[in-house]
Protein backbone atom coordinates (compact mmCIF):
# COMPACT_ATOMS: atom_id res chain seq x y z
CA UNK A 1 0.00 0.00 0.00
CA UNK A 2 1.27 3.43 -0.92
CA UNK A 3 0.24 7.04 -0.51
CA UNK A 4 -0.91 8.72 -3.72
CA UNK A 5 -2.87 11.69 -5.00
CA UNK A 6 -5.45 11.53 -7.79
CA UNK A 7 -4.43 14.01 -10.49
CA UNK A 8 -6.74 13.12 -13.35
CA UNK A 9 -8.80 10.58 -15.19
CA UNK A 10 -8.48 8.37 -18.25
CA UNK A 11 -11.17 7.53 -20.78
CA UNK A 12 -10.99 4.22 -22.58
CA UNK A 13 -13.58 2.41 -24.72
CA UNK A 14 -11.74 -0.69 -25.92
CA UNK A 15 -10.55 -2.58 -22.85
CA UNK A 16 -10.15 -5.94 -21.19
CA UNK A 17 -13.48 -7.33 -19.83
CA UNK A 18 -12.18 -7.06 -16.24
CA UNK A 19 -12.08 -3.25 -16.65
CA UNK A 20 -15.72 -2.92 -17.80
CA UNK A 21 -17.80 -0.38 -15.76
CA UNK A 22 -14.79 0.67 -13.67
CA UNK A 23 -13.51 4.23 -13.30
CA UNK A 24 -9.91 4.79 -14.39
CA UNK A 25 -7.86 7.40 -12.53
CA UNK A 26 -4.41 8.87 -13.07
CA UNK A 27 -2.54 8.81 -9.75
CA UNK A 28 0.81 10.17 -8.60
CA UNK A 29 2.63 8.31 -5.82
CA UNK A 30 3.80 10.39 -2.85
CA UNK A 31 6.40 10.01 -0.13
CA UNK A 32 5.42 10.67 3.51
CA UNK A 33 6.65 14.25 3.04
CA UNK A 34 3.98 14.74 0.36
CA UNK A 35 6.64 14.82 -2.34
CA UNK A 36 5.79 13.22 -5.68
CA UNK A 37 8.04 10.36 -6.77
CA UNK A 38 8.04 8.16 -9.83
CA UNK A 39 5.89 8.43 -12.89
CA UNK A 40 2.10 8.87 -12.62
CA UNK A 41 0.27 5.57 -13.19
CA UNK A 42 -3.26 4.51 -13.96
CA UNK A 43 -5.37 2.99 -11.19
CA UNK A 44 -8.83 1.46 -11.06
CA UNK A 45 -11.19 3.16 -8.63
CA UNK A 46 -12.83 1.10 -5.89
CA UNK A 47 -13.65 3.83 -3.35
CA UNK A 48 -15.33 6.67 -5.31
CA UNK A 49 -12.20 8.82 -5.18
CA UNK A 50 -12.12 12.08 -7.10
CA UNK A 51 -9.47 14.38 -8.51
CA UNK A 52 -7.30 16.04 -5.87
CA UNK A 53 -7.97 13.35 -3.25
CA UNK A 54 -5.20 11.71 -1.26
CA UNK A 55 -5.72 7.96 -1.57
CA UNK A 56 -4.27 4.62 -0.54
CA UNK A 57 -2.96 2.79 -3.55
CA UNK A 58 -2.81 -1.00 -3.49
CA UNK A 59 -0.47 -2.47 -6.09
CA UNK A 60 -0.04 -6.23 -6.17
CA UNK A 61 -0.86 -9.07 -8.54
CA UNK A 62 -4.08 -10.83 -7.57
CA UNK A 63 -5.33 -7.97 -5.38
CA UNK A 64 -8.13 -6.98 -7.76
CA UNK A 65 -9.30 -10.58 -8.14
CA UNK A 66 -9.87 -10.73 -4.38
CA UNK A 67 -11.60 -7.35 -4.18
CA UNK A 68 -13.86 -7.55 -7.24
CA UNK A 69 -14.42 -11.31 -7.11
CA UNK A 70 -13.36 -11.79 -10.74
CA UNK A 71 -11.00 -14.71 -11.28
CA UNK A 72 -7.72 -13.70 -12.92
CA UNK A 73 -8.24 -9.93 -13.26
CA UNK A 74 -5.22 -8.24 -14.91
CA UNK A 75 -5.46 -5.13 -12.74
CA UNK A 76 -2.43 -3.99 -10.77
CA UNK A 77 -3.05 -0.59 -9.22
CA UNK A 78 -6.25 -0.20 -7.24
CA UNK A 79 -7.47 2.76 -5.16
CA UNK A 80 -8.13 0.98 -1.84
CA UNK A 81 -9.09 3.92 0.35
CA UNK A 82 -9.49 7.69 0.63
CA UNK A 83 -7.18 9.21 3.24
CA UNK A 84 -8.88 11.52 5.72
CA UNK A 85 -5.76 12.53 7.55
CA UNK A 86 -2.08 11.64 7.89
CA UNK A 87 -0.62 12.49 11.30
CA UNK A 88 2.88 12.08 12.68
CA UNK A 89 4.03 11.59 16.26
CA UNK A 90 6.95 14.00 15.82
CA UNK A 91 7.02 17.59 14.58
CA UNK A 92 6.30 16.75 10.97
CA UNK A 93 3.20 18.34 9.51
CA UNK A 94 0.28 16.08 8.63
CA UNK A 95 -1.98 16.35 5.61
CA UNK A 96 -5.15 14.83 4.21
CA UNK A 97 -8.60 15.40 2.72
CA UNK A 98 -10.55 16.16 5.92
CA UNK A 99 -11.67 19.63 6.95
CA UNK A 100 -9.40 19.55 10.01
CA UNK A 101 -6.36 18.72 7.91
CA UNK A 102 -7.14 21.54 5.49
CA UNK A 103 -7.58 24.01 8.34
CA UNK A 104 -4.18 23.13 9.79
CA UNK A 105 -2.70 23.59 6.33
CA UNK A 106 -4.09 27.12 6.11
CA UNK A 107 -2.38 28.29 9.33
Amino acid sequence: MQLAVVIGKIVSTVKHPAYQTRKLLLVQRLTLDKKPFGNPTMAVDYMDAGEGDFVLLGAAPGLASTVFGIPNAPIRELVMGVIDCVQFGDTRKGFGNSVRAQKSKRK
Binding site: V11, S12, K15, L26, V44, I75
Partner: protein, 98 residues
Protein backbone atom coordinates in the same frame (compact mmCIF):
# COMPACT_ATOMS: atom_id res chain seq x y z
CA UNK B 1 -0.95 -0.06 -15.23
CA UNK B 2 1.10 2.37 -17.30
CA UNK B 3 0.46 4.29 -20.49
CA UNK B 4 2.42 3.51 -23.66
CA UNK B 5 2.42 4.18 -27.37
CA UNK B 6 2.35 1.29 -29.80
CA UNK B 7 5.33 1.72 -32.09
CA UNK B 8 5.57 -1.58 -33.97
CA UNK B 9 4.53 -5.17 -34.34
CA UNK B 10 6.41 -8.45 -34.15
CA UNK B 11 5.73 -11.60 -36.15
CA UNK B 12 6.89 -14.90 -34.64
CA UNK B 13 6.06 -18.27 -36.13
CA UNK B 14 7.88 -20.49 -33.65
CA UNK B 15 6.44 -19.71 -30.21
CA UNK B 16 4.91 -21.27 -27.13
CA UNK B 17 1.59 -23.00 -28.01
CA UNK B 18 -0.21 -20.80 -25.46
CA UNK B 19 0.83 -17.70 -27.43
CA UNK B 20 -0.75 -18.87 -30.68
CA UNK B 21 -3.36 -16.33 -31.89
CA UNK B 22 -2.12 -13.59 -29.55
CA UNK B 23 -0.69 -10.52 -31.25
CA UNK B 24 2.78 -9.32 -30.26
CA UNK B 25 3.80 -5.68 -30.48
CA UNK B 26 6.44 -3.16 -29.39
CA UNK B 27 5.35 -0.41 -27.00
CA UNK B 28 7.09 2.72 -25.78
CA UNK B 29 6.12 3.73 -22.21
CA UNK B 30 4.99 7.36 -21.87
CA UNK B 31 4.82 9.87 -19.04
CA UNK B 32 1.73 11.91 -18.11
CA UNK B 33 2.33 14.44 -20.90
CA UNK B 34 2.55 11.52 -23.38
CA UNK B 35 6.29 11.97 -23.94
CA UNK B 36 8.45 8.84 -24.31
CA UNK B 37 9.83 7.70 -20.97
CA UNK B 38 12.02 4.62 -20.54
CA UNK B 39 12.96 1.79 -22.86
CA UNK B 40 10.54 0.22 -25.36
CA UNK B 41 9.29 -3.27 -24.51
CA UNK B 42 7.51 -6.16 -26.14
CA UNK B 43 3.93 -6.92 -25.09
CA UNK B 44 1.05 -9.10 -26.22
CA UNK B 45 -2.31 -7.53 -27.02
CA UNK B 46 -5.39 -8.84 -25.19
CA UNK B 47 -7.77 -6.40 -26.93
CA UNK B 48 -6.75 -7.57 -30.44
CA UNK B 49 -7.80 -4.20 -31.85
CA UNK B 50 -4.59 -2.20 -31.75
CA UNK B 51 -3.14 -0.11 -34.55
CA UNK B 52 0.35 1.36 -34.76
CA UNK B 53 0.64 4.81 -33.17
CA UNK B 54 -2.21 4.28 -30.73
CA UNK B 55 -1.92 5.07 -27.04
CA UNK B 56 -2.63 2.05 -24.90
CA UNK B 57 -2.28 0.94 -21.28
CA UNK B 58 -0.54 -2.25 -20.23
CA UNK B 59 0.05 -4.44 -17.20
CA UNK B 60 3.43 -5.99 -16.50
CA UNK B 61 4.88 -9.01 -14.67
CA UNK B 62 2.48 -10.93 -12.39
CA UNK B 63 -0.77 -9.57 -13.78
CA UNK B 64 0.03 -10.03 -17.45
CA UNK B 65 -0.25 -13.82 -17.26
CA UNK B 66 -4.04 -13.61 -16.81
CA UNK B 67 -4.67 -11.90 -20.14
CA UNK B 68 -5.25 -14.97 -22.33
CA UNK B 69 -8.56 -15.61 -24.07
CA UNK B 70 -11.27 -16.47 -21.49
CA UNK B 71 -8.89 -15.58 -18.67
CA UNK B 72 -6.51 -18.45 -19.23
CA UNK B 73 -2.87 -18.11 -18.26
CA UNK B 74 -0.25 -17.29 -20.91
CA UNK B 75 3.52 -16.96 -20.42
CA UNK B 76 3.98 -13.22 -21.02
CA UNK B 77 5.75 -10.42 -19.18
CA UNK B 78 3.71 -7.44 -20.38
CA UNK B 79 0.25 -7.28 -21.93
CA UNK B 80 -1.88 -4.48 -23.38
CA UNK B 81 -5.29 -4.40 -21.67
CA UNK B 82 -6.95 -1.32 -23.19
CA UNK B 83 -6.77 1.59 -25.59
CA UNK B 84 -6.69 5.14 -24.21
CA UNK B 85 -9.19 7.60 -25.68
CA UNK B 86 -8.31 10.57 -23.52
CA UNK B 87 -6.04 11.52 -20.60
CA UNK B 88 -7.14 14.43 -18.41
CA UNK B 89 -5.05 15.74 -15.55
CA UNK B 90 -4.45 18.97 -13.69
CA UNK B 91 -1.00 20.06 -12.63
CA UNK B 92 -2.24 21.86 -9.52
CA UNK B 93 -3.26 18.54 -7.92
CA UNK B 94 0.39 17.42 -7.80
CA UNK B 95 1.89 18.67 -4.50
CA UNK B 96 4.93 20.85 -5.05
CA UNK B 97 8.27 19.49 -3.85
CA UNK B 98 9.71 21.89 -1.28
Amino acid sequence: MDIARLIGTIVATQKDPALVSSKICIIQPLDKDLRPNGKPLVATDSTSQRGTGEIVYYVSSGDAVFTGLQGEKIPVDAAIVGIVDQVDYRKEYIPRAK
